[in-house]
């Protein structure tokens, strides 16, 4: 199982910027068990967003947001609302957000922080990678993880080393930052890249003592 915790609501609100119309998405898998996804967390977040003056265009609960085929099938009938929304906000782990970003042509933002992966890259592992940094920045990058897709885990944009779109350490591997750039350009969100990203807080990678005491954590470790 993958462990997540809700991002503080203030942070979520700040990440939304001027976006008014939000499509809410929640994972009904691991995040449900952590109570950071599922029906309950979805309705709490919906209420909070409304209170903060944002419009929730629609919501959708999907069993495993890490499963792209499932996501595509479940979201098919919501595509119109998604396109009419300013962005998608997802209660799920880093893998879930990245998977949804591959399926929808909209900015997808995380409402949770991933703090432990239990040795898995999603319950339906595919090419998305998360290293459970505990402070998810996928809202800023448009749903591509800079920590796992950039060989140096850079947060403020590409180094000068990419050659023909490939990373300086591996000519077979795409430069993660050029992918992020292309994605944000497509979503017309290049302004995102002007935001200074402060240095990571590595202490957020440590699961809390409370979490380490839970049975789930023990079982999945």
């Amino acid at each position: 199982m993958l462990f997540t915790e809700n991002k503080p609501f203030d942070e979520v609100l700040e990440s939304l910027g001027n976006d008014k119309n939000i499509f809410l998405l929640a994972c009904n898998g691991c995040a449900e068990t952590c109570e950071t996804g599922g029906e309950k967390a979805l309705s709490t977040l919906r209420t909070e967003l409304k209170k903060a003056g944002r419009k929730v265009t629609d919501t959708c609960l999907v069993d495993f947001l890490c499963n792209k085929i499932l996501v595509a099938t479940r979201l098919a009938r919501h595509m119109e609302q998604i396109q009419q929304s300013d962005s998608v906000l997802a209660l799920t782990c880093g893998i879930g957000v990245q998977a949804v970003a591959k399926v929808v042509n909209k900015l997808v933002r995380p409402a949770d922080n991933t703090i432990s992966l239990g040795g898995l890259q999603g319950l339906w592992p595919s090419e998305e990678r998360c290293e459970a940094c505990g402070d998810c920045v996928l809202d800023y990058t448009g749903g591509l993880c800079p920590l796992t897709s950039c060989a140096k885990g850079l947060l403020n944009g590409p180094c000068g080393g990419a050659q023909d779109g490939k990373c300086e350490v591996d000519s077979e591997k795409d430069c993660g930052w050029l992918k992020i750039y292309e994605r944000l350009e497509k979503l017309e969100r290049l302004d995102n890249l002007k935001k200074f990203q402060k240095a990571r807080d590595h202490s957020k990678m440590m699961p809390s003592a409370d979490l380490r005491k839970t049975l789930f954590y023990d079982l999945e470790r």
């Binding site: 850079l154 944009g157 000068g160 023909d164 240095a199």
Partner: protein, 291 residues
């Protein structure tokens, strides 16, 4: 002297790269740099360039400054976490170093210790911001430094030949906001492209020094085209170098570099020469360029 004061004087600022040796005998390096004293404003000492183990930047910078040669200390994010980086910044201040060039650094996989742990606790923008904060008397954790804070002129790099260019410019802007006061670029061979780049960044009002790499042979040019990001030596230049017999190559190479410098100096605020072991030829190049 802080490099920024040289820019303020309005002259074309000249710097030259100094690569410390792999071993402790640095007399030769100093001997090669010494004759450049009258012409070169500052010597930019690399920090384990290309991720190859060598003498460090700090030690060489200190020796240069003892000899009255102005150093610029390069500082990369590759090998040190934020504690060690901030400490080395304080070390530099204590040792009298006034110019810092903050870079991401090459990945260790490209060097002679590919097994090493890549650190990158900070990126270049965060490093600039951390140093800027130290100059205001605060460390990254928000703690106060005791006494007088360190003072630095901060530099950064940008790659005008990168494709696409836009991400480089976005990052350049962030570097300026974080504290960068001047930029040096990757080697430039295409004037038109460089002029276009300068047009895009003019409104930042920050001095830019164009990079010059002396071409030792047509093979080196072709190698850089294939392997070094953002460098493109046009065919005309490669052919020009190849057109002369081998014993005239050095002269031709210097002629090409001098021509580039003559043309580039009107487009930007300074020239940064990376001579890669050809330090002894720099005076001739500068003379040919009329500097």
């Amino acid at each position: 002297m802080k490099l920024i004061d040289r820019f303020k004087q309005g002259k074309c600022v000249l710097t030259c790269e100094a690569g410390p040796p792999k071993g402790i005998e640095i007399a030769q390096l100093i001997a090669e740099l010494e004759p450049l004293r009258p012409k070169i404003d500052a010597f930019n000492v690399t920090d384990l360039q290309s991720s190859v183990l060598r003498v460090g930047s700090l030690a060489v910078c200190r020796i240069l400054s003892e000899k009255g040669l102005e150093p610029v200390m390069q500082l990369t994010c590759r090998d040190r976490n934020r504690l060690a980086l901030q400490s080395d910044v304080l070390n530099a201040a204590v040792l009298g170093i006034k110019n810092l060039l903050c870079l991401t650094g090459d990945h260790p996989k490209l060097g002679d210790h590919p097994q090493a742990m890549p650190v990158f606790d900070l990126d270049s923008v965060q490093l600039l911001s951390a140093v800027k904060n130290l100059t205001k008397g605060k460390d990254m954790a928000g703690n106060d430094l005791e006494g007088r804070p360190p003072e630095f002129c901060l530099g950064a790099v940008v790659n005008p030949g990168a494709d696409p260019l836009e991400p480089q410019i976005l990052k350049m802007e962030k570097k300026i906001q974080a504290g960068a006061e001047f930029f040096q670029t990757q080697a430039v061979y295409e004037l038109k492209k460089f002029a276009g780049f300068m047009g895009r960044v003019k409104h930042f009002n920050v001095p830019v020094m164009a990079g010059i790499v002396l071409l030792k042979s047509p093979a080196m040019a072709k190698f850089m085209n294939a392997n070094v990001a953002g460098i493109h030596v046009p065919d005309e230049i490669i052919n020009e170098l190849a057109s002369v017999p081998k014993d005239k190559r050095v002269h031709k190479s210097l002629e090409i570099a001098a021509r580039l410098i003559r043309e580039l100096k009107g487009l930007c605020q300074g020239i940064h020469i990376m001579s890669l072991g050809w330090e002894r030829h720099i005076p001739t190049v500068l003379e040919m360029a009329g500097l």
